[in-house]
């Protein structure tokens, strides 16, 4: 059981979702975030004052998958999110010790069916 965390461009969210669905992965959680990475920000001028905005809007996906789904998930995310331009983001795979479906209480792999 793993937890995949991916940061992608907001406008790519739908493509990523699509790609994941095609890979038979339907369960995920999405958060609005701001992030800084290689991509440099943009500068706003407000009432004559200039400022460099270096935290850009991104979307964070969290996907808990059984070990055999890790590779397909990664592929799907890359397929959906990659533009080749700076700012595409990164993904992390974290170990999960236990998973539980609240409604049923069932645990372990099936939880993520």
């Amino acid at each position: 059981m793993k937890l995949i965390i991916a940061y992608v461009k907001p406008e790519k969210l739908n493509d990523v979702k699509q790609a994941l669905y095609e890979a038979q992965i339907f369960n995920m959680s999405v958060t609005n975030i701001v992030g800084s990475g290689r991509q440099r920000g943009f500068s706003e001028t407000y009432r004559g004052v200039e400022e460099e905005v270096n935290l850009l809007k991104k979307v964070r996906l969290e996907i808990g998958v059984n070990d055999d789904f890790v590779e397909p998930a990664k592929k799907a995310i890359i397929k959906g999110a990659r533009t080749g331009q700076i700012g595409d983001g990164v993904l992390f795979v974290l170990p999960v010790e236990e998973a539980l479906r609240i409604r049923t209480g069932e645990g372990g792999p099936p939880a993520m069916g």
Partner: protein, 446 residues
Amino acid sequence: MFKRITASLAGLLVLGLVYTLPAWAEEAAKAPKINSLDTIWVLITAYLVFFMQPGFAMVEAGLTRAKNACNILAKNLLDFCVASILFFLVGYGLMFGEGNSFIGLSGFGLSGLKSTNLPIWASWMFQAVFCGTAATIISGAMAERTKFTSYLVATALMTGIVYPIIGHWTWGGGWLSKMGFFDFAGSTIVHGTGGWAALMGTIFLGPRIGRYGPDGKSKVIAGHNISLAMLGVFILWFGWFGFNPGSQLAASGTDNANAIALITINTNLAAAAGAVVAMFTVWAMFGKPDLTMCMNGALAGLVAITAPCAVVSPGAAILIGAIGGLIVVLGVTLLDKIHVDDPVGAIPVHAFNGMWGTISVGIWGQKALGLANNGLLHGGGFQQLGIQILGTVSCALFAIVCMGIVFGLVKAILGLRVSKEEEIRGLDIEEHGMEAYADFQIFTTR
């Protein structure tokens, strides 16, 4: 860019001065039969019509996305400002100056124009806010993808030249008025012109990214602030009590008093009927009473009654508004089918219902109320109806052709549309370097 504009602006200001000193001189001198009651009536209603500007601004901003709010607001503010100045320097002269039956050719900067029952300044003010309305209609349909400078240039040409010419034909004593064409407060002249111009702009632009899927299926791009949009609709309705009753251009005497009262009740009933019918229509067609469609319905009723408001009975007003409410819902669906992407429904509201309202004069209009001939249902036969159709169609065609040229040129020279990246990130950051809701967490996934 702005350098050139600034330069021309400087010139314009000086002109402004030159023009108007003599103009004023004459005025102050003689102004015989000016009527104070008429004057305050027209001024107050002009203020109400001005107030329609924030109405449009809130509707258009509310029905589009947060990332483009500053941009649409800026367009609504600046197009009115530019329109005011150009309509003072040029437009009013083209519309009401001495000339031929196609265009006026004097009175630029108001110089040499005479007062009527109203001071010339009051007449100008009332006409200027109408011109501003025509201009502002466009921004909604072209929202979320149009370059700021290109938009300003296009509205400048429209308010400075196109609108005044169309206006001259009917209100300036031009050929349509000679034919007996009746458009009391401008269903065709103001709303039609704006609406058809909006159609051309939208066609030249193409739909917003993501509005239609690769399969051609339409996608929802929901407005970001329905509360603001609702406020805007109420403000517009309020402003329309200036737009229609004010167009009587007089209030003194029993006849005028009766007229403005009748116009008021007709305006209100048509709007109410439009909203109710639009609600039931969308409810029937799509299963739920979509609030934005109810809003469009009220506006449709208002646009439709704008031409006939003075010459039809309240019962007819209800019918005209009701049909307007039906038209707007069908219109929105139709445009969606043919992939004309009009985020706020400006085209069905102003173009389609502007035409419908103008035609309805020929159906329910009454000679007893001052119309040249009775309408169809009052035994007047098809004469007035024919004139109405001819008039509204010619104005529509003229607007379509002229604005087609305008948008074509602007597109060729400046480009009409922002880049894909700008559109995705939002026009506020790219075009204005700012955000409308800095403190709020916004979804930018659409």
